[in-house]
Amino acid sequence: MTIARKTHDRTTYEKDAPQPGRVLDARLHLLDRQLLDVDDVPVTTIDDLEIHATGGDADPVGGPAVLTNLLTGPVLGTRILGGRPPSSRLERIAWSHVRAVDSAVKLGIHGSQLDATWVERWVRDHVIGRIPGGRHDPE
């Protein structure tokens, strides 16, 4: 088996069949990309992705499965430091809101409609918005 593995290095594997839709590799196109809302306002960086089985199985492994949500929030900390947050602490942005995948991923809705933007809103309402001039255009 070890001999076979060595030869794999130079083996050219057969090409995969052409796919009926656009190919997205998670790390290459989605993970750690900037997420923009419908007005191009930054929402978050995509920290992780959530996968669900489509066949009604609980376990998506090996069976038909799809990407359901973009994730943000505490999951960034566990990606850097290890472990994983409980499912209830995942901040989800449904794939159905995604309008385009480009050098940034774009949503079709306003960021303010998402639960995931609560920290930004909190800092705005309790800190920055209360300092005089904070709600005016720079001159």
Binding site: R5, R10, D25, I51, V61, V66
Partner: protein, 115 residues
């Protein structure tokens, strides 16, 4: 399941032989349309025999320059292959186990025109 459960995990064949690490997960936008885009179907996992770290696809897409860098990254990930999702048998704390007759495919794909 979240993607971190999968990325960088060691990959074994059905008989336990280690074959590498998951460096990426491939989706294809051919699921049911749920919003402006189709649902991304999990198509397969990309396995590199060497290391869990990837340099963001330098080894897969047609970025060929600077040639020295491109060659170095390609060399580090030589032997990378794609396994279809239905050939993934199990995922647990010890990593990913492939099905008994799992087939390996070339990791490249047809690149969409630049936006």
């Amino acid at each position: 399941m979240i993607l971190s459960d999968l990325l960088d995990q060691p990959v074994r064949e059905a008989d336990g032989t280690p074959v590498g690490y998951v460096i990426d997960v491939r989706f294809v936008l051919d699921g049911p349309p749920v919003g402006p885009l189709a649902t991304p179907r999990v198509h397969g996992v990309l396995v590199s025999p060497r290391t869990g770290s990837s340099f963001m696809g330098y080894e897969r897409v047609d970025v060929r320059s600077p040639a020295l860098l491109a060659r170095w990254f390609a060399w580090r990930h030589r032997g990378t292959f794609l396994v279809h999702w239905q050939d993934v048998a199990a995922i647990d704390e010890d990593g990913v186990t492939l099905a008994r007759d799992a087939r390996r495919w070339a990791p490249g794909y047809e690149r969409p025109a630049p936006a």
